[in-house]
């Protein structure tokens, strides 16, 4: 609460921080653009770690017992902690900071036409808490016993009792890191919501707000409304781990299933918390590069809200066979399958936006289109798991792994890359190299499908998750399955290698790229009316808004775009 009170973060817009020293400028800044970069770079760094973890355990799965290059022999305990931390990092320390906090911090003030977040200092505090949480997580890998290995869902009693998980310190630090991260995003979320609600530019009505902002705000709402019980649950889990309470201990009146519910009550809305910002980014990109008004702008918003509401009624589909009462499963099957309707409609509206457009296939556009194409696969395979009868078989098999990677990968990687390549000129004032961008795109998308499509089939064979060596299971050790595992591992290595092209392109363009003008893509939204990169305070005089964000090819105008702040 303390933070709520200081609303008066910093010096007048336009001056002040510009001439202050490097430390203030980049590490202690309250400027939303700097904080957004801090989030993005932290997220990218964590993504590299988690990617390396994926490489290690995929090698172990494909070639059991081998000495993995750059890592060495993978022990069962190390394997568990690798998969656990890979999942935790990708969700909590990559998808959320980059998509929600990174793009949220950068886009909300710029797209709403204000000089900063409404609470710049809470904003800084939120990043600092997030940074501490990341440090705590990294530390947890090096304490005696090693990192937590109970899967990112951390079901007790395994996560609660040291003699079961054998990583007492690691598990406590893991829970602590996750709880800190939640608090950081609560502070950030309040900032996002209040800024978008209260600080919009003069004349900008609710339905003049770009979809990216709408979706980031709805995502923050979902997060804020769903995470509370899990924060409480995390405290109780910490007590169980360290103080000997029995909240989740059946022999002492507790209940392990309670944690599952608290976790997934948050965990399912969390999926939409990261999906929606990616959807918003994609909306901005496809409208610009097909020079089209969004097809049914308001309908998109309604489907987003419907998805958000429904997402609170579906969580137990993660627990169909996890010991909940079978009668509950029927209710959650209905809600889960029904949520496919708003999501499908959203995808249809995006596809329909292409109709009658004039599409240029720049790198950001390729990423945005790939997002839709790949996310559809993740969407339809979700129905298999939502249908309780089929989930009896598919639950915790590689089918699930393939399914949620077909949703999370488009979200956290493809959507993010669409956003980065699209706003790079605005963020750094330099253009990215298109050729390298396209090579990186194809080098990522093709291996991506070769990684995860085999997993669908392995899942149908009954291959279960989180196993470090399938030679222990005769039915799963057949040559066909082995070849499938090797295929996806090789594809993963190829894909990871292609990421170096992106890194090079990113750093090279940042330093040596050609200068970007204000509005390289001829886009309508407000951020493109500021300088690239925007100065502290964003605008010399604040913009006023006269129309919606997607006025492309408006009849009776010679230019095919019409910026929101251009007086009629």
């Amino acid at each position: 609460m303390a933070e709520i009170a200081h609303e008066h973060g910093h010096l007048p817009a336009g001056h002040g921080h510009a001439e202050s020293n490097w430390f203030i400028k980049y590490l202690w800044s309250t400027d939303h653009k700097v904080i957004s970069l801090q989030y993005m770079f932290t997220g990218m760094f964590m993504a590299m770690i988690a990617g390396f973890m994926a490489y290690v355990f995929r090698m172990q799965i494909a070639y059991p017992g081998m000495n993995v290059p750059f890592f060495g022999h993978v022990s069962p305990g190390a394997y568990n902690s690798l998969i656990t931390n890979h999942g935790s990092i990708m969700v909590f320390w990559v998808a959320m900071p980059v998509l929600l906090a990174g793009f949220g911090n950068f886009l909300i003030p710029l797209m709403c036409g204000c000089d900063d977040m409404v609470f710049p200092r809470i904003n800084r505090l939120s990043y600092q808490l997030f940074f501490i949480s990341a440090v705590v997580l990294i530390v947890s890998w090096f304490v005696p016993g090693g990192g937590f290995g109970g899967a990112w869902t951390a079901y007790p009693p395994l996560s609660a009792v040291g003699k079961y998980n054998l990583t007492p310190m690691g598990s406590s630090l893991w829970v602590l890191a996750v709880a800190l991260e939640f608090v950081a995003f609560l502070l950030g979320g309040i900032n996002f919501i209040v800024t978008a609600m209260n600080a919009r530019a003069p004349g900008m009505k609710a339905f003049d707000v770009p979809l990216a902002v709408w979706m980031i705000v709805v995502a923050s709402l979902l997060f804020m409304a769903s995470v509370g019980p899990l924060i409480a649950g995390a405290v109780m889990l910490l007590f169980d781990q360290n103080l000997g309470t029995g909240f989740y201990n059946p022999t002492r009146g507790g209940d392990p299933v309670l944690w599952q519910h608290l976790f997934w009550f948050f965990g399912h809305p969390e999926v939409y918390v990261v999906l929606l910002p990616a959807m918003g980014i994609v909306a901005e990109v496809i409208t610009v590069f097909s020079r089209k008004k969004m097809f049914g702008y308001k309908t998109v918003i309604y489907t987003v809200v419907a998805t958000g509401v429904l997402s609170f009624f579906v969580w137990a589909h993660h627990q169909f066979v996890a010991g909940i009462d079978p009668r509950m499963a029927n209710v959650f099957t209905v809600t889960t399958v029904i949520i496919s309707i708003p999501i499908a409609e959203m995808c249809f509206l995006y596809i329909a936006t292409l109709y009658g457009g004039s599409i240029t296939f720049t790198t950001p556009m390729l990423w945005a289109l790939a997002f839709i194409a790949e996310f559809l696969i993740g969407g339809v395979t979700g129905i298999y798991l939502g249908a309780s009868g089929a989930d009896i078989f598919f639950h915790d098999t590689y089918f699930v792994v393939a399914h949620f990677h077909y949703t999370f990968y488009p979200i956290a990687i493809i959507g993010t890359l669409a956003g980065i390549t699209f706003w790079f000129p605005k963020i750094f004032g330099k253009m990215m190299n298109e050729t390298m961008g396209k090579i990186h795109f194809w080098g990522t998308i093709i291996p991506f499908n070769f990684i995860f499509i085999p997993m669908f089939f392995l899942g149908m064979e009954g291959e279960h998750r989180r196993i470090y060596d399938y030679t222990n299971f005769p039915d799963l050790a057949n040559p066909w399955a082995v070849s499938m595992r090797i295929t996806s591992t090789v594809a993963l290595v190829v894909m990871l290698l292609f990421q170096f092209i992106f890194l090079f392109n990113f750093i090279y363009s940042m330093l040596r790229g050609p200068k970007a003008e204000k509005n390289p893509w001829k886009s309508n939204t407000l951020e493109w009316t500021a300088d690239s990169p925007p100065p502290h305070g964003n605008w010399r005089e604040m913009p006023t808004v006269y129309r919606g964000p997607y006025e492309y090819a408006t009849p009776g105008r010679e230019t095919d775009y019409w910026p929101q702040d251009e007086r009629a």
Partner: protein, 191 residues
């Protein structure tokens, strides 16, 4: 004081930014406390035998603390009234009273807990006691946080600065009060 962020001074929703933010804070607090209380309620109803453990809690202390918090809420709202009239120093004095109330609450609670721990009822003594200390402790933590913020707002108010914050911290304090209003019957009365 320094010129402020333009964004902070806008109010597209016609609600002052600070107050709107406090409402959102309360939303997140409702779900956090809700998580604990819902879990407690389910276990309590599922385990009638917890009633015997609950019988040891002292209703009189709980009632006294409720009274203390209600009174501190009164001074907080009177402070808001004074702030509306622009009387910063008076608001500050009333806020200091509120902090005093919070302090009294914590002192009483610490005596209560010391007594119970001496009796041998600790966090690990059983399901009820785990929830008792966790829920009340979480609440006490919010009381302390509130006291800190209120002190800091009061010091501004004394100089007639940032008077709108008096209302914001007040709203938060009343929420902490309401949480206790529910904790009191849940932990002390229901046996």
């Amino acid at each position: 004081m320094s010129v402020k962020t333009i964004a902070t001074q806008r109010a597209s929703m016609n609600i002052p930014t600070g107050r709107l933010a406090v409402w959102w804070v309360l939303v997140s607090e409702i779900v956090i406390f809700g998580g604990v209380l819902v879990s407690y309620l389910m276990h309590r109803l599922g385990h009638p035998e917890w009633g015997e453990q609950a019988a040891y809690t002292n209703m009189w202390i709980g009632a006294t603390n409720t009274f203390v918090l209600l009174t501190s809420s009164l001074s907080a709202v009177l402070a808001h009234q004074a702030a509306e009239k622009g009387d910063g120093p008076k608001a500050a004095r009333l806020l200091y009273l509120t902090v005093l109330g919070g302090l009294t609450f914590l002192v009483i609670k610490s005596f209560e807990w010391t007594h119970e721990i001496r009796e041998g009822f600790v966090l690990q003594s059983g399901g009820f006691w785990s929830y008792y200390y966790t829920a009340a402790g979480l609440h006490a933590f919010h009381v302390m946080a509130g006291m800190g913020v209120i002190l800091w707002v009061a010091n501004d108010a004394k100089k007639n600065q940032e008077l709108h914050r008096v209302e914001n911290v007040g709203i938060y304090w009343h929420f902490v009060d309401i949480v206790w209003i529910f904790l009191f019957p849940l932990l002390y009365i229901a046996k």
